[in-house]
Structures are given as C-alpha cells and as structure tokens.
Symmetry: C3
Subunit: 255 residues, 3 copies
C-alpha cells in the first residue's frame, strides 16, 4: 500500500511538510489518519523544527472522511483515531500551518480546523455536510465555536452548507486568503517563524493555547460519547450513512 501522506523536511530541516497525497479526494480514512498521527508523533520532540505545513496534492484539500468507516461496527475505532489526531494537533508544540485549495469538507475540514493558522484560496469551499447524511460532525462541533462563535457554528453545522474561502475569512473560519495558499504559508514561515528560537516558540505555543486546548479536548470527549452512545443508536444515523453509500435517498423516521 502506497503511503497516503508525503512527509519531508523543508527549509533546512526547520519545517515539517505533510501533504495529503491521495488526490483528488484525499479521503481522511484510517490509513491517512494513522499516517498523520505517526508523522506528528515522530517529530513531536524534534527541537529543530519551528513549524509544520499541512497541505494536499491535487486541486482539493479533502472531500472528507470515509463514510464506510462511519458504519456502526467501525465507528468507535475510527472516531478514537480521528479524535486522537485532532488532540495531537491542537496541543502540538510548534505552529501547524494549513494551506487549503478547492474542496475542504467534513472530516477534511475538521483536520484543517485542528491546525493553528489556516491559509485558504478565496474560492475554496469549506463545509461540514454531515447533517445531510443524518449524522453530526463531532470535532467541528468543538472546534468551530472557538473560531466563528456559537451561532455561526450552529448555522454551519445544522444547515450543512459550505462557504467560500473569502466568506470564511470574513467570519474567522480561516485566517488568510491567498491565490496560492501554500506559497502564502511558506512566506509566513519564512518571515515570522524561521528565525525564532524553537525552544522559546514551543513555550509560547503552550502559553497562548493553554485554556483553549483544555476546553476543546474536554468538549470533544463529551461529544464523542454523545455520538457513539446516542446518535449511533438512532435509526436515522444508520439509514443516512447506508443511503449515502448505496447512492439512494435516505428515508428519515425521526428516531
């Protein structure tokens, strides 16, 4: 099996590059999550790196998670793994920059939102369409309120609608717009991070994100439990996922 993730060191070993490499969908499936977790874990103690740049090959960041892996029998394992990755990213010791082109949806947007600074093309399309499949987006339920406030979070999650990169900038969903988000993130690294002491930077990261990380991780544990214990026991969640896989309309029974 080819590695779904390209991993290399850039900028004289100071920048860890991670590139989702299963275009064009770049599905965030078990293999992709494991590869991300492994790469981040391997470099967690690397005092040479000052930042991580996460992007994707091809025209799209990611179409989202694997719907098949959301089926009841695999769901608990998949969520534990995905949320482990989210927690690792949230509490990572150096800044994680994320460059986003094209579609960035569902589990793909959840992974991007766990990064620290997001650079998006103004025409990128960002959204959490989970509700269209009868399920909710657990990590986005925790990550979005901190970026866009509670009512915009509710709007995005309940509607399942997507927004453009430029609308995302206006609401705080992303931090920068650029026609070449990857180049913008590299430029940010060169200008603002490359010359910093990495030991000081690591403590600055911990200081500024303390509070945020604890709050978000605590909510994520609670919401994961709600997903597994309650949502997955409903008829409609299973029906929605099965209908999607079978490419047929779902029939809701509101239970």
């Amino acid at each position: 099996m080819s590695n779904p993730l390209k991993i290399w060191l850039d900028r004289d070993g100071k920048l860890l590059r991670l590139q989702l490499d299963k275009p064009k969908a770049n599905i965030v499936d078990a293999a992709m999550i494991a590869a991300l977790n492994e790469a981040l874990g391997a470099h967690r103690g690397n005092s040479d790196i000052a930042a991580v740049l996460l992007d994707a090959s091809g025209p799209h960041f990611s179409f989202g998670a694997s719907v098949e892996e959301h089926m009841p029998e695999q769901c608990a394992e998949m969520l534990a793994s995905l949320h482990g990755l989210i927690k690792t990213m949230l509490d990572y010791r150096v800044p994680i920059l994320v460059a986003i082109n094209g579609q960035c949806l569902g589990g793909g947007l959840e992974v991007a939102l766990a990064g620290h600074l997001l650079f998006a093309h103004p025409d990128a399309s960002l959204g959490q369409p989970e509700m269209l499949l009868g399920v909710f987006a657990p990590a986005a339920s925790c990550l979005l309120p901190e970026r866009v406030g509670q009512s915009r979070t509710d709007d995005l999650l309940w509607s399942g609608r997507s927004v453009s990169g430029s609308d995302g900038l206006a609401m705080g969903l992303v931090d920068y717009n650029a026609d070449d988000p990857q180049a913008a993130a590299l430029g940010y690294f060169d200008k603002h991070l490359a010359k910093k002491s990495t030991s000081s930077l690591r403590l600055a990261v911990q200081a500024s994100r303390s509070g945020y990380v604890g709050r978000t991780v605590a909510k994520l544990d609670e919401v994961e439990k709600l997903y597994l214990d309650e949502l997955m026991s409903t008829h409609d969640a299973v029906e929605g996922l099965e209908a999607f896989v079978a490419k047929r309309p779902a029939k809701w029974e509101n239970r």
Copy 2:
C-alpha cells in the same frame, strides 16, 4: 385574559410558531413569560418539529420587560421565571429562529438572544437600556459576551445605548439582516432544516451547543444572585425603577 402569545404549527407540523401578540409593546411580562415557557415545554418532546420560529405581531419585537414587575417585592419571582425561560431556550432541542423588527429592547432582547439564529431588519433597534433605570440586565450580561465579546458587551450594557440591525450584524449581535426577517427565517427553515432528520438534528443541536449552554447557565445563576442579593439592596436601583414608573427623573445617591 386573552393569550399574549399566538401558538401554531406551520410547515406540515414541522415548525412551531410562537408570536408575541400584545402589540405594539409586546411587553415580556409574567403572562408572556408563562405562555412562552408553557408552549416550549409542551413541544419539547415533539419529534415532528425541526425548529421553532419566534417573532412578534405589530411593528416591534418587544419594548422589554414589565418595569413594575421589577420592583423589590416581585423581582425574585419575575427573574426566576424569566431566567427559567432563557435556560429552556438555550438548551432547547431544536433550533430556535428569531425574527426581529422595530424595537427589541431590555427583556425583549434578552429573550431574543436566548434564541439560536437571529434574523433582524437592518433598521431594527436593539439595546439593553437597563442602566438608564439604575439596574443591570442579568441575562444579557451572560448572553452578550458569547456573541459580541467582552468589551462590546461592556460597552452596550454600561452605556445602555441601542444599535441598529445592520450594526448588530457587523458585531455578531444578530446573524442575518433582511427587509422581511420573518420571511428570511422561514426561507432558512425551508432550505436548511425542513428536510433534516429531526432525531439527528436534535443530537446535532446538543453536540454543538454543549459547553456554551453549561457556561452560560452557570453564569446566569451567579448573576441572578448578584442582582437579588446586592443590586436590589441599593437605594439607586429602587429609586431608578420608581422614578421610571412615576415618569420623573431619578436622583442617584450612588449607594
């Protein structure tokens, strides 16, 4: 006594309509609060509804609470009832859309802010004038920081000034502007909520708002206690309310 609240089911039973129906002031008094509490309680377990739309008949949403009911002898009962309604709305299981025209002031704005998505006319006038009467707005003290941040909350509450619906949109006080806020809210329902599984939607609401609800309810309990135990023991709070009712200028003694 005529019912101060119109209650009906719309959109094939999928949308609970609640309309403040004591124009033009639509005062949020004991009768109105009780009617809202009862209607929301009666439909809390109704798995057919996908949302609530709260609006008002006449040109104004609400001029606010009953000042007479804020007098020392009735105040504790009135606040318990109003805050019970606020908590019910905050933690309601389906989205509460609120459509706002004209004046939306004091207790009226507090009730609106406890809703989930706010649609306001750009020329609507929103504010918490309580400080002009020598009291503070307890629920708004808890609801505003989550929408507009701490310093804008302080500004609005301490000054007592009103802002327009369009300024409110810019600062996150409301979510959408529309010349016909009721039609906009109905359009949102038709497009984004009507076709969702209500069992999945109910869990999505719980997931996204977890954290926010607990935080806000805990603060509301604390602030209610401050209002009853400290504010109502001051000369100026009672003087401000009595002067307002007597339509005379208040004489502050700063105690």
Copy 3:
C-alpha cells in the same frame, strides 16, 4: 524620584485620570507599575468615580516593559507586580477607558489590554514583540484570545508583528478608532457614563465581567508559572534578553 504617573480627578471628581508620564518611552517598569497599583488601590472604594481614563503623555502610549527587569534575578518579582496590576484592572469596579497613541508595545499593550474599552488612533502601532527577544508575553497570552480569538492571538504572539490601530479595530483588538483617542474617551465618558448611578454601574461591571475575569486570572496564574519555571530555565530566553540589552544579535541554541 519624580512620580512616573500623573494622577488627578476630572469631571467634578467623577473621572479618575491616570497618565503615564515618562515620555517618550513611558516604560512600564517597577516604578510605573507600583504607581498604577497604588493609584487604583487608593480609589477602588471611591463611590464618587464612575470611570478611570488611562492615557499617556507624549506621542506614544508605551514602548513596553523594562527588559533589564526581565533578567532572571528580577523576573519573578517583576511579573508578580505586573500581573497583580493586570488582575486589579481586570476586576476593577468601574470602567477603565484607555486612550492609545503612537507605539503601544509589549508590557505597554498588556496593561492597555487589561483596560475595558480601548480608544486608539488609526495609525497607532500595537504589538507584542517579546518573541523577537526569545520570551513570550504572559499576560497577552491570556488577554488576547478573549478579544481576537485563538488563531489571531497565536499569529500576533508567535510572529511578534505589530498592527495598526485601524487593523486593530477590524480584529477587535481595540474598540474605537479616533484621531484624538483621549477626546474620544472623554466624550464617551460624558455621554454614556457621567450620569449613571455609580453604585449600579459598579454592580453592572461585576455582572457583565464575571466569568471573563475568573477565566483570565486562572490562566494568567498558570502562564506565569510556565514563564518562571520553564521559559526562564532555557538558554535562549536569557540569551535573547542579554543580547537585546547588549544591542547585539541573539544566538539561538533552541534549548
């Protein structure tokens, strides 16, 4: 030693004026911090005052803290004193208005951010350059997320970059822009605060800021400990401060 702070009562004794008075740098050093702490402490129970206006003489608000006082042997005492001032301001019983011209950097911006409503010239320059010296800004790590969100906080703190007053307004770092910030703050006082009951205002301040104050103070204690126990044990933090004082480039060892 001349008093580094001008202190007087304005507006018939209703407005406490505090003016940093060591232009042009207005360094927030031990003497300045002590003077601010003393003045605020002396007026904490003054029921005549409805607000505080903090500004600075000369063209700049403040270039920041004393780098010499950040050296290991003085650091704990300096931080305890500065953070004591920050906590006093955060929880002050009447609104603290801050008027900002010119440079407002480092410890100077931290003190300003502990105020409640910030009025800045559009061309003012606001930033936390600590990371350029190999240290982080402990109070700003706690105050900024509440104003500008986590990702903009990270961006400002990690990069050390400055933003203009007008950019600061757009991101919520300051509350108002004005060509004469001092006059704007005085105008705000005259219009919105001067005629309020100060006893009611004091309780309104406590009500709206409850939650925010507790959260921020708890994080500040945690971050101060991280600064003293971990950051000051690194080679690079000491090297950065020493290099700055010696006006030579720092040599990072990433440890």
